[in-house]
């Protein structure tokens, strides 16, 4: 969306078809932005709790098969928090929360940096 209209028109003027214009003038300059958006989506999915908890099966082991029950960071917290009776159990779950925050923060910051740079490239005129 931030791709300038002039770019599109330039591609058309060079005789590009509709699809070629999209590929050359719209998609490829926006590549970092699209990557950033994908990473943002990834970090959103990493922290998703309820939808995962309901279907993953909540078994505390690393399953070899993708079809066996397992755990995610968020589902482990959601599932075991209510039964965490000892201090060390609670602390362990808090630590899972810390790891989760660090992972999502890192992916988020990377994504923001990428998208901000892309937007800046389009808004400041190139020399």
């Amino acid at each position: 969306m931030t791709t300038p209209q002039t770019q599109r028109e330039a591609a058309y003027a060079l005789g590009a078809t509709k699809w070629e214009t999209i590929r050359i003038a719209v998609l490829s300059p926006a590549k970092p932005g699209i990557a950033g958006a994908a990473i943002l989506g990834l970090s959103r999915a990493l922290g998703e709790t309820m939808a995962v908890t309901m279907v993953i099966g909540n078994r505390p082991e690393i399953a070899i098969s993708l079809f066996a029950p397992g755990h995610t960071l968020a589902s482990a917290i959601a599932n075991e928090f209510a039964e965490a009776t000892t201090q060390i159990y609670l602390s362990a779950l808090f630590e899972l929360g810390l790891v989760l925050v660090l992972v999502t923060l890192t992916t988020n910051i990377i994504a923001r940096l990428i998208t901000v740079r892309t937007i800046r490239r389009f808004t400041t005129p190139n020399p």
């Binding site: 959103r44 922290g47 709790t49 959601a78 925050v101 923060l105 988020n108 923001r112």
Partner: protein, 261 residues
């Protein structure tokens, strides 16, 4: 083609929910509290009321902070601070909701010694603040500086100019942002799991464990009872209709406003 792929999940979800949800949907569903296992009937009225109660309290905590924070950012803050806060609130926006849940647990449930609607509301308020702040700030930035200067030229103090001239100018945009944030947190389950905790009975006391619609759906959906599954579908249908309703209303309202201008 791609448009079809995007629309398809929504249509499928709606279709399936209506199919499965309407079976348990009757008057009792909206007026009664849950019945014990095995007894047919009963409803989730307490969860619906509890949800509204928690979200109302969350708005009470979160919306003023968000709006005033945005006013500070766009009117007072030096550019450097503004960038820092903007970046921080964007990243806060991406923090998983379950993390807000354990934060509210550590802050409020532990100090109070029991689960409560207040703790749930605080967790949801944490989610609302960055959302409200960003939309409000973007709205405030669209106000032409001539309006603010006109206010200042009349000798009105800056804080009064901000509160009574700038903010009312973008009232509609702010209301939209707040409603979007409300629709977002209304469906949140994870932060309420160990803050509001859920309750099978009526409760109007904000310092007691309170039922919420998403919590009730979760509890019913993972239960082994066929009857509760039906109620979970119906609850999900009610939740979806409410959230979709708010979103569609906002869409229509903003369209009307923008065509009027």
């Amino acid at each position: 083609m791609t448009a079809l792929i995007t629309v398809l999940p929504l249509v499928l979800v709606l279709w399936h929910l209506i199919n499965a949800g309407t079976k348990a949907l009757d008057l009792a569903f909206f007026t009664q509290t849950p019945k014990p296992v095995g007894e047919p009937g009963g409803g989730i009225a307490n969860a619906i009321v509890g949800s509204f109660m928690i979200v109302a309290m969350a708005s009470l905590f979160g919306v003023p902070v968000g709006i005033l924070g945005a006013a500070f950012l766009s009117e007072y803050a030096p550019p450097k601070l503004r960038n820092i806060v903007r970046f921080t609130s964007d990243t806060l926006n991406g923090v998983p909701s379950i993390v807000w849940g354990i934060l509210a647990y550590a802050l409020i449930v532990v100090t109070m010694g029991r689960f409560s609607a207040i703790a749930g509301a605080v967790a949801l308020a944490f989610i609302m603040i960055p959302l409200v702040m960003r939309t409000t700030e973007e709205m405030l930035n669209t106000v032409p500086s001539t309006y603010k200067e006109a206010g200042l030229a009349l000798g009105i103090p800056k804080w009064k100019t901000t509160l009574f001239i700038t903010l009312p100018l973008v009232k509609n945009g702010i209301v939209t942002g707040v409603l979007l944030a409300v629709a977002r947190v209304f469906g949140e389950t994870a932060p309420l799991l160990f803050t509001a905790f859920g309750n099978q009975f009526w409760n109007f006391n904000p310092t007691q464990p309170t039922a919420a619609l998403p919590l009730q759906i979760f509890a019913y959906a993972i239960s082994p009872y066929e009857d509760w599954h039906r109620q979970a579908w119906a609850g999900a249908l009610v939740l979806l209709v409410f959230v979709l309703g708010v979103n569609v209303t906002i869409r229509i309202a903003t369209n009307q406003v923008s065509t009027k201008e």
